[in-house]
């Protein structure tokens, strides 16, 4: 029970922690405050508990695949909002007095969406098994360790991102957020395949080289949506979202840079 709760917590916390550290370094880099997380995290927790409470009802919708559809929907939303936020941060970097409020709202919205599914899973797991007295202490210890691990990796990542110069950090984070967005689209496709809304298949199998359930596999899954045996439709959507958002973000970055250089 101890090891299992560590694994569950790490897996679920890691994804949100990485996203949160990207968004937090973006707000700081563009001269905004970082205390928006004080809104985002409690709202995310609240959302996760509501999500968990409604899961039974949601699961029955769409002929029994409601869970998949709602999960996919939240992932597709992140896929769309993340590049939008990135463009907003790039804009603010070059136009210093651009409004910060929409960016705060986007950062909070994305964090809440990222916490919904994973948070609901943790909540369901803990609330079900904390009731068993002999498991309680190992559940608490395991969760603390798991949460701590996920949080530490997120913090390390945050300070790594903060170590770049402002402009380079924007470029690095553009690439990272394109990866996260693409990973989300890959997961959304996985859900829609499971619901039989999209066709299944196997584009390749890299489980021999990098197992999904290993440490490196889990990290890569959280950051880039790694899957050892993706379906063709997952590969295509990953490529489309990754290159699409990269193109938009980098295109906007260099256009603004050119303009700012010309302005000086």
């Amino acid at each position: 029970m101890l090891l299992n709760s560590v694994v569950i917590l790490v897996r679920e916390v890691l994804e949100a922690a990485l996203l949160l550290s990207i968004l937090m370094s973006l707000t700081i880099n563009t001269g905004l405050r970082r205390d928006w997380w004080l809104w985002a995290v409690p709202l995310g927790l609240l959302g996760a508990i509501l999500y968990a409470a409604q899961l039974g009802r949601m699961a029955e919708l769409f002929d029994g695949v409601g869970q998949e559809i709602f999960n996919a929907l939240s992932q597709i939303l992140i896929c769309l909002l993340l590049p939008a936020a990135m463009v907003g941060f790039i804009h603010r970097h070059f136009v210093g007095d651009a409004k910060g409020k929409p960016l705060y709202l986007l950062a909070i919205g994305i964090t809440v969406l990222a916490m919904l599914r994973e948070g609901a899973e943790i909540y369901l797991y803990l609330s079900a098994f904390l009731g068993v007295p002999e498991w309680r202490s190992s559940l608490y210890a395991g969760s603390a360790i798991g949460f701590g691990l996920g949080f530490s990796v997120g913090a390390l990542f945050y300070y790594w991102l903060r170590s770049f110069s402002k402009e380079r950090a924007l470029l690095v984070m553009s690439a990272l957020s394109a990866m996260v967005a693409a990973g989300m689209s890959l997961q959304a496709c996985k859900m829609l395949i499971q619901a039989d809304w999209l066709p299944d298949g196997e584009a390749w199998d890299t489980s021999q080289f990098l197992a999904e359930d290993g440490v490196a596999g889990q990290l890569l899954y959280a950051l880039a949506g790694y899957e050892a045996t993706p379906a063709p439709v997952q590969v295509w959507s990953y490529a489309a979202v990754f290159f699409g958002s990269l193109l938009i973000q980098y295109g906007y970055f260099y256009r603004m840079k050119k303009r700012s250089v010309a302005g000086v």
């Binding site: 299992n4 699961a59 369901l124 395949i193 499971q194 619901a195």
Partner: protein
């Protein structure tokens, strides 16, 4: 006159659409297989399904606690609340063995799907 033509056209299109949906629903009847979760165990722990066929897997969670059906080999994960059932579409699969487990009780809740 124009409206009549238009509504006629809309009617014809929607009739076609309805027929298409009905047909696809009829032809899409996939073989159904069932699994049960009892005392954090999957029953049966080995489930044989036809290879190269999409199937509809019904998982009944008879426990009071939730479970997450998870498989890296099948690329599937779904939370099933206590006392509820879940629909999971699987395949078409190449012949082979595909292990799955319950993420909340991975020590006991293990099984595999054999496609042949």
């Amino acid at each position: 006159m124009r409206i009549a033509v238009l509504s006629n056209r809309v009617g014809r299109w929607s009739l076609g659409l309805v027929m298409m949906l009905v047909c696809s629903a009829v032809f899409a009847a996939k073989p159904v297989f069932e699994l049960e979760i009892k005392n954090h165990l999957f029953e049966p722990s080995t489930l044989k399904i036809p290879a190269n066929t999409k199937i509809k897997l019904m998982v009944y969670n008879r426990d009071r606690t939730p479970e997450e059906f998870e498989s890296y080999e099948l690329n599937r994960e779904k939370v099933i609340l206590g006392g509820q059932k879940a629909v999971i579409f699987i395949g078409p699969l190449e012949p082979g063995r595909y292990p799955y487990f319950g993420e909340f009780n991975p020590k006991t809740a293990q099984g595999e799907i054999v496609a042949e």
